[in-house]
């Protein structure tokens, strides 16, 4: 596999993570909006989706960070 493709794969991880963060922020804002319009269960469900997407984005970004660490990290003395 060429190194360019490998680098692209890494950026796909980062892109997915950031997109998920954006979706979760959107969901939190929508949850508050729904609650203002007295749609309680819709709002709680939206907040739940927001928490889930935030967790998954953190998971993806963490994986990406450690893959980055393995690829460019230096072997330090112990």
């Amino acid at each position: 596999m060429s190194s360019r493709l490998r680098a692209a794969r890494f950026w796909i991880f980062v892109g997915v993570g950031i997109a998920l963060v954006a979706v979760s922020i959107l969901m939190f804002m929508m949850a508050i909006g729904y609650m203002q319009r007295a749609m309680v269960s819709t709002s709680l469900l939206t907040a739940f989706i927001g928490f889930t997407t935030l967790s998954s984005s953190l998971y993806v970004l963490r994986l990406a960070a450690h893959i980055y660490g393995v690829e460019v990290g230096s072997e330090e003395k112990t």
Partner: protein, 371 residues
């Protein structure tokens, strides 16, 4: 043991004792003056209960020198003083910083392996500046994230009040301090997980380390997450509701067979409710673990033990009923009395669900969520 390690053990306890002295004095004063009746006096109010608990935890923190118990004591006293209308002074938080610093020094300290390093005044200043900057950054981020989260949670909690009649029950529930506390504890735990993950991501990007990342990626417990479908707890709860009356019936038939004199001691009324609930919690815990076993990749043969044991339990109960009717053991094993069992189970299910609903009603009244 050298002086340094003795100091490292004594000093944290001393700091904890000095800082937690007002909280500790509650416990010591109560023991000296009234003994047991003094404790009862504290247990009468909510804030008194939390302050008494925090003073007990403070005593444990001073004895063990544990940072975690110190924090628990602080949280408890903050809740107690919050109920009484006071605010905590900043001194315990400075003490917490000192204790954490001592703890990390004690972790890395090796007896007789001390070495001195030579840094100039500039290097010293730089080191202190880095420590203060990173601490300030961490505190700033946590305060900001805490505000953001409390804004979200508070706006979610406060909105349904007076919006519509349908949301009235929800508003009642959310205005109850106990439920608010639960929501905030959950939110704080989630915030902690989120923040620690974020810091880890930033740290790895800023200073990539091959060894650390390989360690994390090789650790399968950390990387392979089991995907739990939502409302799994409710699912196992419903399954447990089905299973519990069968297990109950087995135990009561067993008691009647082995110790008939115990069956007369009110097992039909008051104690039965408590026993039912204890069995329910036990079954719930067991089933929860088994359901997790089913959803994991590669279920094992032992995962079938729960359904099989349930079938065995029903058979054993029917056999015990036959033995109670006076049949010999071999014959009752061949002719288990399933008819009596089924009629008893029908009554058992009805009684169990009635007592369960009664208990839920009582619980919601107790915490003030229902009128």
């Amino acid at each position: 043991m050298g002086w340094a390690s003795i100091t490292l053990r004594v000093l944290p306890r001393l700091i904890a004792a000095v800082i937690l002295w007002d909280i500790l004095s509650v416990l010591i004063g109560t023991i000296y003056s009234g003994g047991f009746s003094g404790f009862v006096e504290y247990l009468k109010t909510v804030s008194g209960f939390f302050i008494l608990m925090s003073s007990l935890l403070a005593a444990i923190a001073v004895v063990t020198g544990s940072v975690v118990v110190y924090v628990l004591s602080l949280v408890s006293v903050a809740i107690g003083k919050g109920f009484a209308g006071y605010v905590l002074s900043p001194a315990p938080f400075i003490g917490l910083g000192l204790l954490l610093a001592m703890d990390s020094i004690a972790l890395g300290y090796r007896e007789g392996q001390g070495k001195s390093i030579d840094i100039g005044l500039r290097g010293l200043g730089r080191g202190i500046a880095v420590v203060i900057a990173s601490l300030g950054l961490m505190i700033g981020v946590s305060v900001f994230a805490g505000y953001a989260l409390s804004y979200i949670v508070l706006s979610l909690i406060d909105m349904p009040r007076g919006v519509s009649l349908a949301a009235d029950l929800l508003a009642n529930m959310f205005s109850n301090p106990f439920i608010r506390l639960c929501i905030f504890v959950l939110a704080a735990l989630y915030l902690y997980k989120t923040l620690s993950d974020t810091v880890e991501i930033i740290a790895v990007f800023v200073k990539p380390s091959r060894r650390l990342s390989l360690g994390v990626l090789r650790n399968r417990e950390d990387i392979d997450i089991v995907i739990e479908y939502p409302l799994q707890t409710l699912f196992t709860f419903i399954i447990a509701l089905f299973v519990v009356p069968v297990v109950d019936e087995f135990f009561y038939v067993l008691i009647r067979t082995i110790a008939p004199q115990l069956a007369g001691l009110g097992f039909e009324s008051g104690i039965r409710l408590v026993a039912d609930m204890a069995v329910f919690v036990l079954i719930f815990v067991i089933i929860n673990r088994y359901i997790r076993g089913f959803t994991k990749f590669g279920a094992k043969a032992r995962d079938i033990a729960l359904p099989a044991s349930l079938a065995v339990l029903i058979y054993a109960t029917a056999v015990l009923i036959s033995i109670n009717r006076g049949l010999p053991v071999i014959q009752s094993m061949l002719n288990p009395d399933l008819e009596t069992l089924s009629s008893r189970l029908r009554e058992g299910y009805a009684a169990f669900y009635i007592s369960f609903l009664y208990l839920i009603d009582l619980l919601t009244r107790l915490v003030g969520a229902a009128p």
